[in-house]
Symmetry: C2
DNA sequence: GGGTTTTCTTGAACGTGTTCAAACAAGGGC
DNA sequence: GCCCTTGTTTGAACACGTTCAAGAAAACCC
Protein backbone atom coordinates (compact mmCIF):
# COMPACT_ATOMS: atom_id res chain seq x y z
CA UNK A 1 0.00 0.00 0.00
CA UNK A 2 2.82 2.39 0.82
CA UNK A 3 4.56 1.43 -2.42
CA UNK A 4 1.48 1.94 -4.60
CA UNK A 5 0.81 5.30 -3.00
CA UNK A 6 4.39 6.38 -3.48
CA UNK A 7 4.57 5.37 -7.13
CA UNK A 8 1.27 7.10 -7.88
CA UNK A 9 2.45 10.29 -6.20
CA UNK A 10 5.81 10.15 -7.97
CA UNK A 11 3.94 9.92 -11.25
CA UNK A 12 1.58 12.77 -10.37
CA UNK A 13 3.96 15.24 -8.78
CA UNK A 14 7.46 14.04 -9.59
CA UNK A 15 10.04 12.37 -7.40
CA UNK A 16 11.61 15.40 -5.75
CA UNK A 17 8.28 17.08 -5.00
CA UNK A 18 6.88 14.01 -3.27
CA UNK A 19 7.92 14.05 0.37
CA UNK A 20 8.09 11.04 2.62
CA UNK A 21 5.72 12.84 4.98
CA UNK A 22 3.19 13.24 2.17
CA UNK A 23 3.50 9.60 1.14
CA UNK A 24 3.02 8.45 4.73
CA UNK A 25 0.04 10.73 5.26
CA UNK A 26 -1.62 9.65 2.03
CA UNK A 27 -1.00 6.00 2.83
CA UNK A 28 -2.37 6.50 6.34
CA UNK A 29 0.73 5.56 8.31
CA UNK A 30 3.39 7.35 10.29
CA UNK A 31 6.51 8.44 8.47
CA UNK A 32 8.64 6.15 10.58
CA UNK A 33 6.53 3.23 9.47
CA UNK A 34 7.43 3.79 5.84
CA UNK A 35 11.05 3.46 6.90
CA UNK A 36 10.27 0.18 8.59
CA UNK A 37 9.37 -1.35 5.22
CA UNK A 38 11.66 0.64 2.93
CA UNK A 39 15.22 1.53 3.82
CA UNK A 40 15.02 4.88 2.09
CA UNK A 41 13.07 6.96 -0.36
CA UNK A 42 15.25 5.60 -3.15
CA UNK A 43 14.28 2.05 -2.34
CA UNK A 44 10.72 2.87 -3.29
CA UNK A 45 11.93 3.17 -6.86
CA UNK A 46 12.98 -0.46 -7.07
CA UNK A 47 9.29 -1.31 -7.33
CA UNK A 48 9.05 1.05 -10.25
CA UNK A 49 11.91 -0.80 -11.94
CA UNK A 50 10.29 -4.17 -11.63
CA UNK A 51 7.02 -2.78 -12.92
CA UNK A 52 8.71 -1.26 -15.96
CA UNK A 53 10.62 -4.44 -16.70
CA UNK A 54 7.37 -6.43 -16.73
CA UNK A 55 5.67 -3.85 -18.93
CA UNK A 56 8.53 -4.03 -21.42
CA UNK A 57 8.18 -7.80 -21.59
CA UNK A 58 4.45 -7.47 -22.30
CA UNK A 59 4.87 -4.71 -24.86
CA UNK A 60 7.59 -6.68 -26.65
CA UNK A 61 5.54 -9.87 -26.88
CA UNK A 62 3.65 -9.08 -30.13
CA UNK A 63 6.92 -8.33 -31.92
CA UNK A 64 8.65 -11.41 -30.57
CA UNK A 65 5.69 -13.58 -31.51
CA UNK A 66 5.04 -12.18 -34.96
CA UNK A 67 8.39 -11.25 -36.43
CA UNK A 68 11.27 -13.52 -37.46
CA UNK A 69 13.79 -11.10 -38.89
CA UNK A 70 16.54 -10.11 -36.50
CA UNK A 71 16.61 -6.38 -37.29
CA UNK A 72 12.83 -6.06 -37.09
CA UNK A 73 12.73 -7.94 -33.81
CA UNK A 74 15.41 -5.80 -32.24
CA UNK A 75 13.90 -2.60 -33.54
CA UNK A 76 10.46 -3.57 -32.28
CA UNK A 77 11.72 -4.48 -28.83
CA UNK A 78 13.68 -1.25 -28.45
CA UNK A 79 10.73 0.87 -29.56
CA UNK A 80 8.47 -1.09 -27.21
CA UNK A 81 10.84 -0.27 -24.36
CA UNK A 82 10.64 3.43 -25.13
CA UNK A 83 6.87 3.16 -25.51
CA UNK A 84 6.33 1.87 -22.01
CA UNK A 85 8.78 4.33 -20.49
CA UNK A 86 7.52 7.36 -22.39
CA UNK A 87 4.85 8.43 -19.84
CA UNK A 88 7.53 8.59 -17.18
CA UNK A 89 10.15 10.59 -19.06
CA UNK A 90 10.18 13.66 -16.83
CA UNK A 91 9.89 11.52 -13.74
CA UNK A 92 12.73 9.31 -14.93
CA UNK A 93 14.97 12.30 -15.41
CA UNK A 94 14.51 13.42 -11.81
CA UNK A 95 15.33 10.11 -10.20
CA UNK A 96 17.89 9.02 -12.73
CA UNK A 97 20.58 10.68 -10.64
CA UNK A 98 19.97 8.31 -7.77
CA UNK A 99 20.10 5.32 -10.09
CA UNK A 100 23.33 6.59 -11.60
CA UNK A 101 25.28 6.48 -8.37
CA UNK A 102 27.63 3.50 -8.59
CA UNK A 103 27.13 2.45 -4.97
CA UNK A 104 23.36 2.74 -5.17
CA UNK A 105 21.32 -0.48 -5.10
CA UNK A 106 19.32 1.13 -7.89
CA UNK A 107 22.24 1.07 -10.28
CA UNK A 108 21.39 -1.25 -13.19
CA UNK A 109 24.70 -2.98 -12.53
CA UNK A 110 24.13 -3.56 -8.83
CA UNK A 111 23.46 -6.92 -7.27
CA UNK A 112 20.01 -5.84 -6.10
CA UNK A 113 19.04 -5.08 -9.66
CA UNK A 114 20.24 -8.39 -11.03
CA UNK A 115 16.81 -10.06 -11.16
CA UNK A 116 15.42 -7.23 -13.28
CA UNK A 117 18.65 -7.16 -15.28
CA UNK A 118 18.60 -10.88 -15.98
CA UNK A 119 14.98 -10.68 -17.03
CA UNK A 120 15.82 -7.84 -19.37
CA UNK A 121 18.76 -9.72 -20.88
CA UNK A 122 16.32 -12.59 -21.36
CA UNK A 123 14.21 -10.44 -23.66
CA UNK A 124 17.22 -9.84 -25.86
CA UNK A 125 18.13 -13.51 -25.81
CA UNK A 126 14.63 -14.06 -27.13
CA UNK A 127 15.25 -11.45 -29.82
CA UNK A 128 18.30 -13.42 -30.95
CA UNK A 129 17.05 -16.97 -30.60
CA UNK A 130 13.68 -16.38 -32.22
CA UNK A 131 15.24 -14.81 -35.27
CA UNK A 132 16.31 -16.39 -38.54
CA UNK A 133 19.68 -14.66 -38.44
CA UNK A 134 22.73 -16.86 -38.71
CA UNK A 135 25.09 -15.77 -35.98
CA UNK A 136 28.63 -16.77 -35.17
CA UNK A 137 28.52 -19.27 -32.27
CA UNK A 138 31.11 -17.39 -30.23
CA UNK A 139 29.08 -14.24 -30.61
CA UNK A 140 25.84 -16.02 -29.68
CA UNK A 141 27.11 -16.47 -26.14
CA UNK A 142 27.58 -12.79 -25.54
CA UNK A 143 25.12 -11.16 -27.91
CA UNK A 144 22.13 -10.99 -25.54
CA UNK A 145 24.17 -9.13 -22.99
CA UNK A 146 25.63 -6.87 -25.65
CA UNK A 147 22.15 -6.03 -26.89
CA UNK A 148 21.09 -5.30 -23.33
CA UNK A 149 24.10 -2.99 -23.05
CA UNK A 150 22.97 -1.25 -26.23
CA UNK A 151 19.52 -0.94 -24.66
CA UNK A 152 21.10 0.67 -21.60
CA UNK A 153 22.83 3.09 -23.98
CA UNK A 154 19.55 3.90 -25.69
CA UNK A 155 17.95 4.41 -22.29
CA UNK A 156 20.76 6.71 -21.23
CA UNK A 157 20.30 8.69 -24.44
CA UNK A 158 16.54 8.77 -23.86
CA UNK A 159 16.93 10.20 -20.37
CA UNK A 160 18.99 13.04 -21.78
CA UNK A 161 16.75 13.49 -24.81
CA UNK A 162 14.90 16.79 -24.56
CA UNK A 163 13.49 16.78 -28.10
CA UNK A 164 9.68 16.77 -28.42
CA UNK A 165 8.33 13.31 -27.68
CA UNK A 166 11.93 12.13 -27.56
CA UNK A 167 12.03 11.83 -31.34
CA UNK A 168 15.81 11.79 -31.36
CA UNK A 169 15.76 8.56 -29.42
CA UNK A 170 13.41 7.07 -32.01
CA UNK A 171 15.79 8.11 -34.77
CA UNK A 172 18.71 6.72 -32.81
CA UNK A 173 17.01 3.34 -32.63
CA UNK A 174 16.10 3.37 -36.32
CA UNK A 175 19.63 4.30 -37.23
CA UNK A 176 21.53 2.03 -34.92
CA UNK A 177 19.54 -1.17 -35.48
CA UNK A 178 20.62 -1.57 -39.13
CA UNK A 179 24.22 -1.06 -38.05
CA UNK A 180 23.97 -3.74 -35.39
CA UNK A 181 22.19 -5.99 -37.85
CA UNK A 182 24.95 -5.52 -40.39
CA UNK A 183 27.67 -6.15 -37.82
CA UNK A 184 25.96 -9.30 -36.58
CA UNK A 185 25.61 -10.51 -40.15
CA UNK A 186 29.28 -9.86 -40.84
CA UNK A 187 30.31 -11.75 -37.72
CA UNK A 188 30.41 -15.04 -39.63
CA UNK A 189 32.82 -13.79 -42.29
CA UNK A 190 36.18 -15.48 -42.06
CA UNK A 191 38.11 -12.25 -42.66
CA UNK A 192 36.45 -10.58 -39.71
CA UNK A 193 37.06 -13.43 -37.32
CA UNK A 194 40.17 -11.82 -35.78
CA UNK A 195 38.33 -8.57 -35.21
CA UNK A 196 35.43 -10.37 -33.55
CA UNK A 197 37.85 -12.32 -31.40
CA UNK A 198 39.47 -9.06 -30.41
CA UNK A 199 36.17 -7.60 -29.32
CA UNK A 200 35.09 -10.66 -27.34
CA UNK A 201 38.49 -10.93 -25.71
CA UNK A 202 38.21 -7.30 -24.69
CA UNK A 203 34.89 -8.08 -23.08
CA UNK A 204 36.39 -10.92 -21.09
CA UNK A 205 39.35 -8.83 -20.03
CA UNK A 206 37.21 -6.00 -18.92
CA UNK A 207 34.93 -8.24 -16.95
CA UNK A 208 37.82 -9.91 -15.13
CA UNK A 209 37.88 -8.44 -11.65
CA UNK A 210 41.54 -8.27 -10.67
CA UNK B 1 38.46 31.37 -1.13
CA UNK B 2 35.17 29.59 -0.55
CA UNK B 3 35.80 27.45 -3.62
CA UNK B 4 39.32 26.46 -2.60
CA UNK B 5 38.16 25.58 0.89
CA UNK B 6 35.27 23.52 -0.46
CA UNK B 7 37.40 21.55 -2.91
CA UNK B 8 40.00 20.84 -0.26
CA UNK B 9 37.36 19.61 2.18
CA UNK B 10 35.66 17.50 -0.52
CA UNK B 11 39.00 15.85 -1.17
CA UNK B 12 39.72 15.29 2.53
CA UNK B 13 36.32 14.14 3.76
CA UNK B 14 34.25 13.38 0.68
CA UNK B 15 31.41 15.30 -0.89
CA UNK B 16 28.50 14.06 1.22
CA UNK B 17 30.33 14.45 4.54
CA UNK B 18 31.27 18.04 3.85
CA UNK B 19 28.45 20.32 4.97
CA UNK B 20 27.84 23.80 3.71
CA UNK B 21 28.03 24.97 7.32
CA UNK B 22 31.47 23.43 7.68
CA UNK B 23 32.68 24.98 4.44
CA UNK B 24 31.40 28.41 5.46
CA UNK B 25 32.94 28.14 8.91
CA UNK B 26 36.31 27.01 7.56
CA UNK B 27 36.26 29.77 4.96
CA UNK B 28 35.33 32.32 7.63
CA UNK B 29 32.00 33.45 6.20
CA UNK B 30 28.32 32.94 6.98
CA UNK B 31 26.55 30.07 5.29
CA UNK B 32 24.27 32.45 3.44
CA UNK B 33 27.30 34.14 1.97
CA UNK B 34 28.41 30.96 0.26
CA UNK B 35 25.01 30.90 -1.42
CA UNK B 36 25.53 34.43 -2.60
CA UNK B 37 28.45 33.31 -4.73
CA UNK B 38 27.38 29.76 -5.57
CA UNK B 39 23.83 28.81 -6.42
CA UNK B 40 24.10 25.46 -4.68
CA UNK B 41 26.48 22.95 -3.23
CA UNK B 42 26.63 21.25 -6.60
CA UNK B 43 27.86 24.39 -8.28
CA UNK B 44 31.01 24.19 -6.22
CA UNK B 45 31.94 21.13 -8.26
CA UNK B 46 32.15 23.06 -11.49
CA UNK B 47 35.47 24.40 -10.23
CA UNK B 48 36.63 20.86 -9.80
CA UNK B 49 35.71 20.14 -13.41
CA UNK B 50 37.72 23.00 -14.78
CA UNK B 51 40.69 22.02 -12.67
CA UNK B 52 40.56 18.43 -13.92
CA UNK B 53 40.22 19.52 -17.52
CA UNK B 54 43.35 21.64 -17.21
CA UNK B 55 45.25 18.85 -15.53
CA UNK B 56 44.30 16.47 -18.34
CA UNK B 57 45.64 18.92 -20.89
CA UNK B 58 48.95 19.18 -19.03
CA UNK B 59 49.28 15.43 -18.50
CA UNK B 60 48.53 14.78 -22.16
CA UNK B 61 51.11 17.25 -23.44
CA UNK B 62 54.15 14.93 -23.42
CA UNK B 63 52.28 12.34 -25.44
CA UNK B 64 50.94 14.88 -27.90
CA UNK B 65 54.38 16.40 -28.32
CA UNK B 66 56.38 13.23 -28.61
CA UNK B 67 54.22 10.70 -30.40
CA UNK B 68 53.03 10.73 -34.01
CA UNK B 69 51.14 7.48 -34.31
CA UNK B 70 47.37 7.80 -33.93
CA UNK B 71 46.80 4.78 -31.70
CA UNK B 72 49.68 5.66 -29.40
CA UNK B 73 48.48 9.26 -29.14
CA UNK B 74 44.94 8.25 -28.29
CA UNK B 75 46.04 5.60 -25.84
CA UNK B 76 48.41 8.01 -24.11
CA UNK B 77 45.78 10.72 -23.82
CA UNK B 78 43.18 8.36 -22.38
CA UNK B 79 45.61 6.94 -19.83
CA UNK B 80 46.68 10.46 -18.93
CA UNK B 81 43.06 11.32 -18.26
CA UNK B 82 42.68 8.39 -15.91
CA UNK B 83 46.01 9.27 -14.28
CA UNK B 84 44.90 12.73 -13.26
CA UNK B 85 41.49 11.54 -12.09
CA UNK B 86 42.76 8.54 -10.16
CA UNK B 87 43.31 10.30 -6.80
CA UNK B 88 39.69 11.40 -6.84
CA UNK B 89 38.05 8.08 -7.69
CA UNK B 90 36.07 7.62 -4.49
CA UNK B 91 35.20 11.30 -4.38
CA UNK B 92 34.10 11.19 -8.01
CA UNK B 93 31.76 8.28 -7.32
CA UNK B 94 29.93 10.21 -4.62
CA UNK B 95 29.26 13.32 -6.66
CA UNK B 96 28.83 11.59 -9.97
CA UNK B 97 25.13 11.28 -9.27
CA UNK B 98 24.67 15.03 -9.29
CA UNK B 99 26.58 15.30 -12.55
CA UNK B 100 24.47 12.55 -14.07
CA UNK B 101 21.19 14.41 -13.70
CA UNK B 102 20.19 15.60 -17.16
CA UNK B 103 18.91 18.96 -15.97
CA UNK B 104 21.96 19.62 -13.83
CA UNK B 105 24.37 22.31 -15.00
CA UNK B 106 27.08 19.82 -14.09
CA UNK B 107 26.02 17.40 -16.79
CA UNK B 108 28.86 17.09 -19.31
CA UNK B 109 26.27 17.85 -21.99
CA UNK B 110 24.89 21.00 -20.37
CA UNK B 111 25.45 24.49 -21.68
CA UNK B 112 27.32 25.49 -18.54
CA UNK B 113 29.84 22.74 -19.16
CA UNK B 114 30.43 23.67 -22.77
CA UNK B 115 33.69 25.56 -22.18
CA UNK B 116 35.22 22.55 -20.45
CA UNK B 117 33.65 20.26 -23.03
CA UNK B 118 35.02 22.23 -25.98
CA UNK B 119 38.46 22.29 -24.40
CA UNK B 120 38.29 18.55 -23.95
CA UNK B 121 37.19 17.97 -27.53
CA UNK B 122 40.15 20.16 -28.49
CA UNK B 123 42.53 17.67 -26.93
CA UNK B 124 41.12 14.94 -29.13
CA UNK B 125 41.28 17.17 -32.19
CA UNK B 126 44.95 17.51 -31.35
CA UNK B 127 45.22 13.72 -31.08
CA UNK B 128 43.86 13.45 -34.61
CA UNK B 129 45.58 16.36 -36.31
CA UNK B 130 49.00 15.70 -34.87
CA UNK B 131 48.97 12.10 -36.00
CA UNK B 132 50.27 10.58 -39.22
CA UNK B 133 47.04 8.63 -39.74
CA UNK B 134 45.26 9.09 -43.02
CA UNK B 135 41.63 9.71 -42.24
CA UNK B 136 38.60 10.03 -44.46
CA UNK B 137 37.80 13.75 -44.81
CA UNK B 138 34.14 13.28 -43.87
CA UNK B 139 35.17 11.45 -40.74
CA UNK B 140 37.74 14.11 -39.87
CA UNK B 141 34.95 16.57 -39.20
CA UNK B 142 33.32 14.43 -36.55
CA UNK B 143 36.14 12.33 -35.20
CA UNK B 144 37.29 14.66 -32.39
CA UNK B 145 33.79 14.70 -30.97
CA UNK B 146 33.46 10.96 -31.39
CA UNK B 147 36.71 10.43 -29.54
CA UNK B 148 35.49 12.72 -26.78
CA UNK B 149 32.33 10.63 -26.59
CA UNK B 150 34.49 7.53 -26.26
CA UNK B 151 36.37 9.33 -23.48
CA UNK B 152 33.05 10.00 -21.74
CA UNK B 153 32.31 6.30 -22.06
CA UNK B 154 35.66 5.40 -20.55
CA UNK B 155 35.03 7.86 -17.73
CA UNK B 156 31.61 6.35 -17.09
CA UNK B 157 33.18 2.93 -16.95
CA UNK B 158 35.88 4.24 -14.63
CA UNK B 159 33.36 5.66 -12.18
CA UNK B 160 31.71 2.26 -11.93
CA UNK B 161 35.04 0.40 -11.87
CA UNK B 162 35.58 -1.13 -8.43
CA UNK B 163 38.60 -3.24 -9.35
CA UNK B 164 41.85 -2.48 -7.49
CA UNK B 165 43.44 0.66 -8.89
CA UNK B 166 40.76 0.58 -11.55
CA UNK B 167 42.74 -1.90 -13.61
CA UNK B 168 39.71 -2.87 -15.64
CA UNK B 169 39.53 0.66 -16.99
CA UNK B 170 43.18 0.40 -18.02
CA UNK B 171 42.46 -2.84 -19.83
CA UNK B 172 39.41 -1.29 -21.45
CA UNK B 173 41.56 1.51 -22.86
CA UNK B 174 44.24 -0.87 -24.09
CA UNK B 175 41.63 -3.04 -25.73
CA UNK B 176 39.45 -0.40 -27.26
CA UNK B 177 42.14 1.84 -28.72
CA UNK B 178 43.33 -0.75 -31.30
CA UNK B 179 39.70 -1.25 -32.32
CA UNK B 180 39.18 2.45 -32.85
CA UNK B 181 42.50 2.66 -34.65
CA UNK B 182 41.48 -0.15 -36.98
CA UNK B 183 38.09 1.40 -37.67
CA UNK B 184 39.61 4.78 -38.41
CA UNK B 185 42.10 3.15 -40.74
CA UNK B 186 39.35 1.29 -42.56
CA UNK B 187 37.33 4.48 -42.97
CA UNK B 188 39.10 5.27 -46.24
CA UNK B 189 38.28 1.96 -47.90
CA UNK B 190 35.85 2.38 -50.76
CA UNK B 191 33.79 -0.66 -49.79
CA UNK B 192 33.14 0.72 -46.35
CA UNK B 193 32.10 4.13 -47.58
CA UNK B 194 28.35 3.36 -47.37
CA UNK B 195 28.69 2.09 -43.82
CA UNK B 196 30.62 5.19 -42.79
CA UNK B 197 28.02 7.38 -44.45
CA UNK B 198 25.36 5.52 -42.54
CA UNK B 199 27.09 6.15 -39.25
CA UNK B 200 27.69 9.84 -39.92
CA UNK B 201 24.14 10.32 -41.13
CA UNK B 202 22.90 8.70 -37.94
CA UNK B 203 24.93 11.19 -35.96
CA UNK B 204 23.39 14.10 -37.84
CA UNK B 205 19.90 12.71 -37.46
CA UNK B 206 20.32 12.16 -33.79
CA UNK B 207 21.70 15.62 -33.23
CA UNK B 208 18.83 17.28 -35.09
CA UNK B 209 16.56 18.76 -32.47
CA UNK B 210 13.04 18.37 -33.81
C1' DG C 1 -5.63 -16.93 30.45
C1' DG C 2 -1.03 -15.08 31.74
C1' DG C 3 3.59 -14.21 30.67
C1' DT C 4 7.20 -13.42 27.22
C1' DT C 5 9.13 -12.47 23.00
C1' DT C 6 8.81 -10.66 18.45
C1' DT C 7 6.92 -7.68 15.15
C1' DC C 8 4.99 -3.45 14.04
C1' DT C 9 3.85 1.58 14.71
C1' DT C 10 4.42 6.13 16.32
C1' DG C 11 5.95 11.03 16.13
C1' DA C 12 9.28 13.99 18.14
C1' DA C 13 14.00 15.16 17.19
C1' DC C 14 18.38 15.51 14.43
C1' DG C 15 21.26 17.29 10.78
C1' DT C 16 21.05 18.64 6.17
C1' DG C 17 20.73 22.04 1.94
C1' DT C 18 18.58 26.18 1.11
C1' DT C 19 16.01 30.77 1.63
C1' DC C 20 15.17 35.42 3.06
C1' DA C 21 14.35 39.66 5.49
C1' DA C 22 17.24 42.46 7.61
C1' DA C 23 21.56 44.75 8.41
C1' DC C 24 25.86 46.46 6.73
C1' DA C 25 29.38 48.41 3.36
C1' DA C 26 30.78 50.89 -0.73
C1' DG C 27 30.60 53.90 -3.74
C1' DG C 28 28.45 58.08 -6.62
C1' DG C 29 26.14 62.30 -7.35
C1' DC C 30 25.26 66.85 -5.48
C1' DG D 1 28.58 65.88 4.60
C1' DC D 2 24.37 63.49 3.13
C1' DC D 3 21.26 60.66 0.61
C1' DC D 4 20.42 56.97 -2.57
C1' DT D 5 21.54 52.94 -4.94
C1' DT D 6 23.86 48.89 -5.37
C1' DG D 7 26.41 45.21 -3.81
C1' DT D 8 27.57 42.21 0.11
C1' DT D 9 26.94 39.63 4.56
C1' DT D 10 24.48 37.68 8.22
C1' DG D 11 22.14 33.91 10.86
C1' DA D 12 17.64 32.48 12.11
C1' DA D 13 14.12 29.81 9.96
C1' DC D 14 12.15 26.34 6.72
C1' DA D 15 11.29 21.80 4.67
C1' DC D 16 13.32 17.79 3.86
C1' DG D 17 15.16 12.67 4.56
C1' DT D 18 16.16 9.96 8.25
C1' DT D 19 16.66 8.00 13.10
C1' DC D 20 15.24 6.20 17.44
C1' DA D 21 13.39 5.45 22.00
C1' DA D 22 9.19 4.25 23.37
C1' DG D 23 4.99 2.10 23.16
C1' DA D 24 1.15 -0.96 20.96
C1' DA D 25 -0.14 -5.21 18.78
C1' DA D 26 0.53 -9.78 17.56
C1' DA D 27 2.36 -14.24 18.03
C1' DC D 28 3.93 -17.74 20.72
C1' DC D 29 4.49 -20.90 24.75
C1' DC D 30 2.83 -23.31 28.89
Amino acid sequence: MILETALRMFRERGYADTTMRAIAKEAGVAVGNAYYYFDSKEHLIQGFYDHMQGAHRVAAAPVLDGEREFAARLRGVLHAGIDVNAPYHSFAATFFKTAAEPTSPLSPFSRQSSPARDASIGIFRDVMEGSTAKIDPELRVHLPELLWLAWMGVTLFWVYDSSPEQRRTRRLIDGVVPLIDRLVGLSRLRVLRPALRQVLELLDNVRRDD
